[in-house]
Amino acid sequence: MRTAIQIQRSVIFAFFIRELKTRFGSYRLGYLWALLEPLGHILVIVAVFGAMGRNSMPGIEYPLFIITGLFPFFFFKYVWTRSAEAVKSNRALLAYRYVKPLDNIWARALLELLIFLIGFVVYLIGLATFGIEVMPHRPLEVFCAYILLFIFAIGVGIVSGVVCGIFPELKKCIPFINRPLYFISGVFIPLSVVPEKFRVYFLWNPILHALELARKNYFPSFEHSGASWLFLVMSSLVSLFIGLALYRITRFKLLES
Protein backbone atom coordinates (compact mmCIF):
# COMPACT_ATOMS: atom_id res chain seq x y z
CA MET A 1 0.00 0.00 0.00
CA ARG A 2 1.15 3.50 -0.80
CA THR A 3 1.05 6.15 1.89
CA ALA A 4 -1.15 9.19 1.50
CA ILE A 5 1.91 11.36 0.85
CA GLN A 6 3.17 9.05 -1.90
CA ILE A 7 -0.24 9.06 -3.56
CA GLN A 8 -0.51 12.84 -3.34
CA ARG A 9 2.95 13.24 -4.80
CA SER A 10 2.37 10.94 -7.74
CA VAL A 11 -1.01 12.49 -8.55
CA ILE A 12 0.42 16.03 -8.52
CA PHE A 13 3.33 14.86 -10.66
CA ALA A 14 0.92 13.24 -13.11
CA PHE A 15 -1.09 16.45 -13.41
CA PHE A 16 2.05 18.52 -13.71
CA ILE A 17 3.21 16.59 -16.78
CA ARG A 18 -0.33 16.65 -18.20
CA GLU A 19 -0.55 20.41 -17.80
CA LEU A 20 2.89 20.84 -19.32
CA LYS A 21 1.80 18.88 -22.37
CA THR A 22 -1.60 20.50 -22.81
CA ARG A 23 -0.51 24.04 -22.13
CA PHE A 24 2.35 24.02 -24.63
CA GLY A 25 1.97 20.82 -26.57
CA SER A 26 -0.42 22.09 -29.21
CA TYR A 27 1.82 24.91 -30.45
CA ARG A 28 4.97 24.33 -32.37
CA LEU A 29 6.74 27.09 -30.47
CA GLY A 30 4.82 26.30 -27.31
CA TYR A 31 7.55 26.63 -24.73
CA LEU A 32 9.04 29.62 -26.49
CA TRP A 33 5.65 31.34 -26.41
CA ALA A 34 5.73 31.46 -22.62
CA LEU A 35 8.89 33.55 -22.95
CA LEU A 36 7.71 35.73 -25.82
CA GLU A 37 4.40 36.83 -24.34
CA PRO A 38 5.92 39.17 -21.71
CA LEU A 39 8.19 40.75 -24.32
CA GLY A 40 5.23 42.38 -26.08
CA HIS A 41 3.97 43.82 -22.82
CA ILE A 42 7.40 45.10 -21.85
CA LEU A 43 7.95 46.85 -25.17
CA VAL A 44 4.56 48.56 -25.03
CA ILE A 45 4.96 49.65 -21.43
CA VAL A 46 8.46 50.99 -21.99
CA ALA A 47 7.25 52.92 -25.04
CA VAL A 48 4.31 54.46 -23.15
CA PHE A 49 5.68 54.97 -19.66
CA GLY A 50 9.42 54.92 -20.24
CA ALA A 51 9.94 58.68 -19.87
CA MET A 52 7.79 58.86 -16.78
CA GLY A 53 9.68 55.93 -15.26
CA ARG A 54 13.08 57.51 -15.78
CA ASN A 55 11.95 60.81 -14.30
CA SER A 56 10.18 59.51 -11.24
CA MET A 57 12.67 56.80 -10.33
CA PRO A 58 16.23 58.00 -10.79
CA GLY A 59 18.78 55.24 -10.43
CA ILE A 60 16.38 52.47 -11.42
CA GLU A 61 16.45 50.89 -14.86
CA TYR A 62 12.86 51.04 -16.04
CA PRO A 63 12.84 47.73 -18.01
CA LEU A 64 14.17 45.94 -14.95
CA PHE A 65 11.52 47.67 -12.86
CA ILE A 66 8.82 46.32 -15.18
CA ILE A 67 10.18 42.81 -15.14
CA THR A 68 10.10 42.71 -11.35
CA GLY A 69 6.38 43.49 -11.52
CA LEU A 70 5.20 41.96 -14.77
CA PHE A 71 6.41 38.41 -14.18
CA PRO A 72 4.95 38.04 -10.71
CA PHE A 73 1.73 39.65 -11.92
CA PHE A 74 1.40 37.27 -14.86
CA PHE A 75 2.16 34.46 -12.56
CA PHE A 76 -0.61 35.53 -10.20
CA LYS A 77 -3.04 36.00 -13.06
CA TYR A 78 -2.38 32.61 -14.58
CA VAL A 79 -2.51 30.74 -11.28
CA TRP A 80 -5.86 32.12 -10.31
CA THR A 81 -7.55 32.09 -13.72
CA ARG A 82 -6.36 28.60 -14.55
CA SER A 83 -7.32 27.38 -11.09
CA ALA A 84 -10.81 28.71 -11.66
CA GLU A 85 -11.20 26.19 -14.49
CA ALA A 86 -9.21 23.43 -12.85
CA VAL A 87 -11.92 21.93 -10.66
CA LYS A 88 -14.66 21.95 -13.24
CA SER A 89 -12.72 20.84 -16.27
CA ASN A 90 -11.24 17.78 -14.62
CA ARG A 91 -14.38 16.43 -13.06
CA ALA A 92 -14.24 13.30 -15.22
CA LEU A 93 -10.91 12.39 -13.69
CA LEU A 94 -12.42 12.13 -10.23
CA ALA A 95 -13.51 8.63 -11.19
CA TYR A 96 -9.91 7.63 -10.53
CA ARG A 97 -10.10 7.30 -6.82
CA TYR A 98 -6.78 8.97 -5.99
CA VAL A 99 -7.67 12.14 -7.86
CA LYS A 100 -9.22 14.87 -5.73
CA PRO A 101 -10.61 18.21 -6.92
CA LEU A 102 -7.69 20.33 -5.72
CA ASP A 103 -4.87 18.22 -7.18
CA ASN A 104 -4.96 19.96 -10.49
CA ILE A 105 -4.74 23.35 -8.80
CA TRP A 106 -1.54 22.39 -6.98
CA ALA A 107 -0.04 21.12 -10.21
CA ARG A 108 -1.00 24.19 -12.21
CA ALA A 109 0.36 26.49 -9.52
CA LEU A 110 3.66 24.61 -9.52
CA LEU A 111 3.86 24.81 -13.29
CA GLU A 112 3.19 28.56 -13.24
CA LEU A 113 5.84 28.98 -10.55
CA LEU A 114 8.32 27.18 -12.76
CA ILE A 115 7.40 29.26 -15.81
CA PHE A 116 7.73 32.40 -13.69
CA LEU A 117 11.17 31.46 -12.41
CA ILE A 118 12.52 30.47 -15.81
CA GLY A 119 11.03 33.52 -17.55
CA PHE A 120 12.32 35.85 -14.86
CA VAL A 121 15.85 34.49 -15.00
CA VAL A 122 15.96 34.47 -18.81
CA TYR A 123 14.90 38.12 -18.96
CA LEU A 124 17.39 39.11 -16.27
CA ILE A 125 20.14 37.47 -18.29
CA GLY A 126 18.83 39.28 -21.34
CA LEU A 127 19.03 42.66 -19.56
CA ALA A 128 22.45 41.82 -18.16
CA THR A 129 23.78 41.40 -21.68
CA PHE A 130 22.84 45.06 -22.25
CA GLY A 131 25.11 45.95 -19.37
CA ILE A 132 22.32 46.57 -16.84
CA GLU A 133 23.04 45.67 -13.24
CA VAL A 134 20.36 43.02 -12.52
CA MET A 135 21.27 41.53 -9.17
CA PRO A 136 18.74 42.28 -6.41
CA HIS A 137 19.87 44.38 -3.50
CA ARG A 138 18.38 42.04 -0.86
CA PRO A 139 17.54 38.74 -2.63
CA LEU A 140 16.01 36.97 0.35
CA GLU A 141 13.38 39.65 0.91
CA VAL A 142 12.56 39.72 -2.79
CA PHE A 143 12.16 35.98 -2.71
CA CYS A 144 9.88 36.19 0.35
CA ALA A 145 7.64 38.79 -1.30
CA TYR A 146 7.22 36.56 -4.36
CA ILE A 147 6.59 33.43 -2.31
CA LEU A 148 3.90 35.25 -0.32
CA LEU A 149 2.32 36.34 -3.58
CA PHE A 150 2.47 32.70 -4.68
CA ILE A 151 0.59 31.60 -1.56
CA PHE A 152 -1.93 34.39 -2.05
CA ALA A 153 -2.42 33.27 -5.66
CA ILE A 154 -3.03 29.67 -4.61
CA GLY A 155 -5.51 30.82 -1.96
CA VAL A 156 -7.42 32.96 -4.45
CA GLY A 157 -7.11 30.14 -6.99
CA ILE A 158 -8.70 27.59 -4.68
CA VAL A 159 -11.52 29.97 -3.81
CA SER A 160 -12.25 30.64 -7.47
CA GLY A 161 -11.81 26.96 -8.39
CA VAL A 162 -14.33 25.87 -5.78
CA VAL A 163 -16.78 28.68 -6.51
CA CYS A 164 -16.58 28.18 -10.29
CA GLY A 165 -16.81 24.43 -9.72
CA ILE A 166 -20.25 25.00 -8.23
CA PHE A 167 -21.34 28.03 -10.27
CA PRO A 168 -19.55 27.66 -13.64
CA GLU A 169 -21.17 30.79 -15.04
CA LEU A 170 -19.04 32.93 -12.71
CA LYS A 171 -16.02 32.08 -14.86
CA LYS A 172 -17.20 34.80 -17.22
CA CYS A 173 -16.32 37.43 -14.61
CA ILE A 174 -12.63 36.59 -14.63
CA PRO A 175 -11.58 38.81 -17.57
CA PHE A 176 -13.49 41.71 -16.03
CA ILE A 177 -11.44 41.39 -12.88
CA ASN A 178 -8.10 40.76 -14.55
CA ARG A 179 -8.07 43.78 -16.80
CA PRO A 180 -8.35 46.47 -14.09
CA LEU A 181 -6.15 44.39 -11.79
CA TYR A 182 -3.32 44.87 -14.25
CA PHE A 183 -3.57 48.62 -13.83
CA ILE A 184 -4.11 48.86 -10.08
CA SER A 185 -1.42 46.40 -9.04
CA GLY A 186 1.49 48.66 -9.81
CA VAL A 187 2.91 46.58 -12.60
CA PHE A 188 4.38 49.57 -14.40
CA ILE A 189 4.25 52.42 -11.90
CA PRO A 190 5.40 52.69 -8.31
CA LEU A 191 2.83 53.64 -5.71
CA SER A 192 4.84 56.77 -4.94
CA VAL A 193 3.65 58.46 -8.15
CA VAL A 194 0.04 58.08 -7.02
CA PRO A 195 -1.22 61.18 -5.15
CA GLU A 196 -1.04 60.57 -1.45
CA LYS A 197 -4.76 60.78 -0.69
CA PHE A 198 -5.53 57.95 -3.16
CA ARG A 199 -2.84 55.59 -1.92
CA VAL A 200 -4.93 54.09 0.86
CA TYR A 201 -7.37 52.71 -1.69
CA PHE A 202 -4.63 51.12 -3.76
CA LEU A 203 -3.22 49.59 -0.61
CA TRP A 204 -6.22 47.32 -0.28
CA ASN A 205 -4.65 45.22 -3.04
CA PRO A 206 -2.28 42.54 -1.71
CA ILE A 207 -0.61 42.17 -5.13
CA LEU A 208 0.49 45.79 -4.96
CA HIS A 209 2.02 45.13 -1.54
CA ALA A 210 3.96 42.17 -2.91
CA LEU A 211 5.29 44.11 -5.88
CA GLU A 212 6.21 47.17 -3.81
CA LEU A 213 7.97 45.08 -1.19
CA ALA A 214 9.85 43.09 -3.80
CA ARG A 215 10.98 46.28 -5.55
CA LYS A 216 11.91 48.03 -2.35
CA ASN A 217 14.30 45.20 -1.63
CA TYR A 218 15.39 44.85 -5.23
CA PHE A 219 16.41 48.47 -5.76
CA PRO A 220 18.20 50.32 -2.94
CA SER A 221 16.90 53.68 -4.21
CA PHE A 222 13.25 52.59 -4.56
CA GLU A 223 10.97 54.93 -2.72
CA HIS A 224 8.33 52.78 -1.16
CA SER A 225 5.19 54.12 0.36
CA GLY A 226 2.97 52.21 2.68
CA ALA A 227 3.43 48.58 1.63
CA SER A 228 3.42 46.26 4.61
CA TRP A 229 4.76 42.76 5.21
CA LEU A 230 2.10 42.16 7.82
CA PHE A 231 -0.68 42.93 5.35
CA LEU A 232 0.85 40.67 2.71
CA VAL A 233 1.40 37.78 5.10
CA MET A 234 -2.12 38.10 6.48
CA SER A 235 -3.71 38.30 3.03
CA SER A 236 -1.95 35.18 1.81
CA LEU A 237 -2.73 33.19 4.95
CA VAL A 238 -6.33 34.37 5.08
CA SER A 239 -6.94 33.64 1.39
CA LEU A 240 -5.40 30.19 1.73
CA PHE A 241 -7.51 29.54 4.81
CA ILE A 242 -10.73 30.66 3.15
CA GLY A 243 -9.92 28.55 0.09
CA LEU A 244 -9.24 25.39 2.04
CA ALA A 245 -12.23 25.96 4.32
CA LEU A 246 -14.52 26.43 1.32
CA TYR A 247 -13.16 23.25 -0.20
CA ARG A 248 -13.68 21.38 3.04
CA ILE A 249 -17.30 22.50 3.23
CA THR A 250 -18.14 21.79 -0.40
CA ARG A 251 -16.01 18.71 -1.06
CA PHE A 252 -18.94 16.30 -1.34
CA LYS A 253 -20.66 18.54 -3.81
CA LEU A 254 -17.50 18.90 -5.87
CA LEU A 255 -17.15 15.13 -6.09
CA GLU A 256 -20.67 14.57 -7.35
CA SER A 257 -20.78 14.00 -11.04
Binding site: F13, R18, K21, A92, A95
Partner: protein
Protein backbone atom coordinates in the same frame (compact mmCIF):
# COMPACT_ATOMS: atom_id res chain seq x y z
CA UNK B 1 -14.74 -8.16 1.56
CA UNK B 2 -16.47 -4.85 1.14
CA UNK B 3 -18.50 -3.47 3.99
CA UNK B 4 -21.01 -0.64 4.00
CA UNK B 5 -21.45 0.73 7.48
CA UNK B 6 -24.43 2.98 8.20
CA UNK B 7 -24.13 4.54 4.79
CA UNK B 8 -26.38 7.51 4.14
CA UNK B 9 -26.14 9.33 0.86
CA UNK B 10 -28.19 12.24 -0.34
CA UNK B 11 -28.03 14.80 -3.11
CA UNK B 12 -29.08 18.38 -2.73
CA UNK B 13 -31.90 19.23 -5.10
CA UNK B 14 -34.08 22.28 -5.46
CA UNK B 15 -36.78 20.55 -3.46
CA UNK B 16 -34.44 19.71 -0.61
CA UNK B 17 -32.43 16.61 0.09
CA UNK B 18 -33.02 13.61 -2.10
CA UNK B 19 -31.99 10.52 -0.16
CA UNK B 20 -30.48 7.71 -2.19
CA UNK B 21 -29.48 5.53 0.75
CA UNK B 22 -30.56 5.80 4.35
CA UNK B 23 -28.45 4.11 6.98
CA UNK B 24 -27.55 1.08 4.87
CA UNK B 25 -25.29 -1.54 6.43
CA UNK B 26 -24.25 -4.68 4.63
CA UNK B 27 -21.32 -6.91 3.79
CA UNK B 28 -20.46 -8.12 0.32
CA UNK B 29 -18.91 -11.55 0.90
CA UNK B 30 -15.37 -12.43 -0.11
CA UNK B 31 -14.64 -13.86 -3.51
CA UNK B 32 -18.04 -13.31 -5.16
CA UNK B 33 -18.90 -11.24 -8.18
CA UNK B 34 -21.86 -8.99 -7.55
CA UNK B 35 -24.61 -7.96 -9.93
CA UNK B 36 -26.51 -4.81 -9.03
CA UNK B 37 -30.16 -4.49 -9.99
CA UNK B 38 -32.54 -1.62 -9.54
CA UNK B 39 -34.83 0.76 -11.38
CA UNK B 40 -33.49 3.92 -12.99
CA UNK B 41 -32.36 6.46 -10.44
CA UNK B 42 -32.32 3.94 -7.61
CA UNK B 43 -28.66 4.59 -6.89
CA UNK B 44 -26.86 1.80 -8.73
CA UNK B 45 -24.21 4.10 -10.13
CA UNK B 46 -23.94 5.99 -6.87
CA UNK B 47 -23.25 2.70 -5.10
CA UNK B 48 -20.59 1.81 -7.66
CA UNK B 49 -18.92 5.19 -7.29
CA UNK B 50 -18.93 4.97 -3.51
CA UNK B 51 -17.37 1.51 -3.65
CA UNK B 52 -14.83 2.85 -6.13
CA UNK B 53 -13.94 5.65 -3.75
CA UNK B 54 -14.68 8.48 -6.15
CA UNK B 55 -17.66 9.61 -4.13
CA UNK B 56 -18.24 9.50 -0.39
CA UNK B 57 -21.31 8.80 1.70
CA UNK B 58 -22.64 11.82 3.61
CA UNK B 59 -22.38 9.73 6.72
CA UNK B 60 -21.19 6.24 7.43
CA UNK B 61 -18.31 4.47 5.74
CA UNK B 62 -17.39 2.10 2.96
CA UNK B 63 -14.70 -0.18 4.34
CA UNK B 64 -12.47 -2.42 2.28
CA UNK B 65 -8.86 -3.42 1.98
CA UNK B 66 -9.35 -4.59 -1.58
CA UNK B 67 -7.89 -2.98 -4.61
CA UNK B 68 -10.85 -1.64 -6.59
CA UNK B 69 -10.75 -0.43 -10.18
CA UNK B 70 -12.09 2.73 -11.70
CA UNK B 71 -15.26 2.08 -13.75
CA UNK B 72 -14.11 -0.19 -16.56
CA UNK B 73 -14.13 1.43 -19.98
CA UNK B 74 -14.08 4.94 -18.59
CA UNK B 75 -12.75 7.30 -21.21
CA UNK B 76 -14.26 10.61 -20.11
CA UNK B 77 -11.00 11.53 -18.42
CA UNK B 78 -8.93 11.31 -21.56
CA UNK B 79 -7.37 14.61 -22.56
CA UNK B 80 -8.24 15.20 -26.20
CA UNK B 81 -5.08 17.03 -27.14
CA UNK B 82 -2.82 14.27 -25.82
CA UNK B 83 -2.11 10.98 -27.53
CA UNK B 84 -3.46 7.66 -26.35
CA UNK B 85 0.03 6.82 -25.14
CA UNK B 86 0.29 10.01 -23.07
CA UNK B 87 -3.14 9.47 -21.57
CA UNK B 88 -2.13 5.98 -20.50
CA UNK B 89 1.07 7.35 -19.00
CA UNK B 90 -1.00 9.85 -17.04
CA UNK B 91 -3.13 7.12 -15.44
CA UNK B 92 -0.01 5.08 -14.67
CA UNK B 93 1.52 8.08 -12.95
CA UNK B 94 -1.59 8.56 -10.83
CA UNK B 95 -1.25 4.97 -9.72
CA UNK B 96 2.43 5.54 -8.96
CA UNK B 97 3.76 2.89 -11.33
CA UNK B 98 7.45 2.59 -12.09
CA UNK B 99 8.87 3.26 -15.53
CA UNK B 100 9.05 -0.43 -16.41
CA UNK B 101 5.53 -1.14 -15.22
CA UNK B 102 4.27 1.79 -17.26
CA UNK B 103 6.03 0.50 -20.36
CA UNK B 104 4.42 -2.90 -19.81
CA UNK B 105 0.96 -1.35 -19.62
CA UNK B 106 1.56 0.69 -22.77
CA UNK B 107 2.73 -2.42 -24.59
CA UNK B 108 -0.30 -4.35 -23.39
CA UNK B 109 -2.87 -1.73 -24.35
CA UNK B 110 -1.21 -1.13 -27.68
CA UNK B 111 -1.35 -4.79 -28.63
CA UNK B 112 -4.86 -5.19 -27.33
CA UNK B 113 -6.39 -2.13 -28.95
CA UNK B 114 -4.83 -2.61 -32.39
CA UNK B 115 -5.36 0.95 -33.49
CA UNK B 116 -2.01 1.26 -35.24
CA UNK B 117 -0.59 4.73 -35.70
CA UNK B 118 -3.54 6.31 -33.94
CA UNK B 119 -1.92 5.24 -30.71
CA UNK B 120 0.40 8.23 -30.95
CA UNK B 121 -2.13 10.69 -32.28
CA UNK B 122 -4.35 13.02 -30.22
CA UNK B 123 -7.30 11.24 -28.64
CA UNK B 124 -9.62 13.87 -30.14
CA UNK B 125 -8.99 12.27 -33.54
CA UNK B 126 -10.20 8.85 -32.33
CA UNK B 127 -13.51 7.29 -33.18
CA UNK B 128 -15.58 6.31 -30.15
CA UNK B 129 -14.70 2.67 -30.85
CA UNK B 130 -11.00 3.44 -30.64
CA UNK B 131 -11.48 5.31 -27.40
CA UNK B 132 -13.32 2.37 -25.89
CA UNK B 133 -10.64 -0.06 -27.00
CA UNK B 134 -7.94 2.00 -25.32
CA UNK B 135 -9.89 2.51 -22.12
CA UNK B 136 -11.04 -1.10 -21.88
CA UNK B 137 -7.52 -2.33 -22.54
CA UNK B 138 -6.14 0.03 -19.93
CA UNK B 139 -8.58 -1.20 -17.28
CA UNK B 140 -7.63 -4.77 -18.10
CA UNK B 141 -3.91 -4.09 -17.96
CA UNK B 142 -4.17 -3.33 -14.24
CA UNK B 143 -4.56 -6.12 -11.70
CA UNK B 144 -7.43 -5.23 -9.40
CA UNK B 145 -9.28 -7.37 -6.86
CA UNK B 146 -12.59 -5.94 -8.03
CA UNK B 147 -13.48 -4.51 -11.41
CA UNK B 148 -16.36 -2.05 -11.47
CA UNK B 149 -18.51 -2.27 -14.57
CA UNK B 150 -21.28 0.25 -15.11
CA UNK B 151 -23.59 -0.60 -18.02
CA UNK B 152 -20.77 -2.05 -20.03
CA UNK B 153 -21.89 -2.00 -23.62
CA UNK B 154 -19.88 -4.23 -25.86
CA UNK B 155 -17.91 -2.12 -28.24
CA UNK B 156 -16.27 -2.56 -31.57
CA UNK B 157 -16.67 -5.24 -34.18
CA UNK B 158 -17.33 -8.88 -33.53
CA UNK B 159 -13.69 -10.00 -33.35
CA UNK B 160 -12.91 -7.28 -30.86
CA UNK B 161 -15.94 -8.18 -28.75
CA UNK B 162 -14.85 -11.79 -28.74
CA UNK B 163 -11.36 -10.78 -27.73
CA UNK B 164 -12.51 -8.52 -24.91
CA UNK B 165 -14.91 -11.11 -23.53
CA UNK B 166 -12.10 -13.64 -23.47
CA UNK B 167 -9.82 -11.22 -21.66
CA UNK B 168 -12.54 -10.37 -19.19
CA UNK B 169 -13.21 -14.05 -18.45
CA UNK B 170 -9.51 -14.54 -17.86
CA UNK B 171 -9.50 -11.70 -15.36
CA UNK B 172 -12.45 -13.20 -13.52
CA UNK B 173 -10.43 -16.29 -12.65
CA UNK B 174 -8.40 -14.23 -10.22
CA UNK B 175 -10.57 -11.20 -9.59
CA UNK B 176 -14.23 -10.35 -9.04
CA UNK B 177 -16.49 -7.87 -10.69
CA UNK B 178 -19.22 -5.59 -9.48
CA UNK B 179 -21.57 -4.93 -12.34
CA UNK B 180 -24.55 -2.74 -13.13
CA UNK B 181 -26.55 -3.75 -16.19
CA UNK B 182 -30.09 -3.39 -17.39
CA UNK B 183 -30.17 -6.78 -19.00
CA UNK B 184 -30.44 -9.53 -16.31
CA UNK B 185 -28.93 -12.07 -18.71
CA UNK B 186 -25.68 -10.12 -18.76
CA UNK B 187 -25.58 -10.18 -14.98
CA UNK B 188 -26.39 -13.88 -14.80
CA UNK B 189 -23.59 -14.65 -17.21
CA UNK B 190 -21.01 -12.57 -15.33
CA UNK B 191 -21.83 -12.47 -11.64
CA UNK B 192 -22.54 -14.79 -8.69
CA UNK B 193 -24.66 -12.90 -6.20
CA UNK B 194 -27.19 -10.11 -6.59
CA UNK B 195 -27.84 -6.85 -4.81
CA UNK B 196 -31.26 -5.36 -5.47
CA UNK B 197 -31.69 -1.67 -4.74
CA UNK B 198 -35.24 -0.51 -4.14
CA UNK B 199 -36.34 2.62 -2.31
CA UNK B 200 -32.97 3.25 -0.74
CA UNK B 201 -32.65 -0.27 0.65
CA UNK B 202 -30.25 -2.90 -0.61
CA UNK B 203 -31.29 -6.56 -0.49
CA UNK B 204 -28.54 -9.08 -0.96
CA UNK B 205 -29.38 -12.45 -2.52
CA UNK B 206 -26.93 -15.35 -2.65
CA UNK B 207 -27.76 -16.27 -6.21
CA UNK B 208 -27.93 -13.79 -9.04
CA UNK B 209 -30.71 -15.82 -10.68
CA UNK B 210 -32.86 -15.48 -7.58
CA UNK B 211 -32.03 -11.81 -7.44
CA UNK B 212 -33.15 -11.32 -11.03
CA UNK B 213 -36.43 -13.15 -10.32
CA UNK B 214 -36.97 -11.21 -7.12
CA UNK B 215 -36.31 -7.94 -8.90
CA UNK B 216 -38.68 -8.61 -11.77
CA UNK B 217 -41.39 -9.61 -9.28
CA UNK B 218 -40.98 -6.47 -7.19
CA UNK B 219 -40.89 -4.19 -10.19
CA UNK B 220 -44.08 -5.70 -11.62
CA UNK B 221 -46.01 -5.07 -8.44
Amino acid sequence: MIELKNVTKWYQTKKGRHYVFRDVSMIFPEGKSIGILGPNGAGKSTLIRMIGGSEYPNSGRVITKKNISWPVGLSGGFQGSMSGRDNIKFICRIYGLSRDETLDKIQFVREFAEIGNYFDMPVSTYSSGMRSKISFGLSMSFDFDYYLVDECTSVGDQTFRHKSNKLFDQKREKANIIMVAHNPQVLIRNTDIGAVIIDGKITLLDDIKDAAKYYSKVVKN
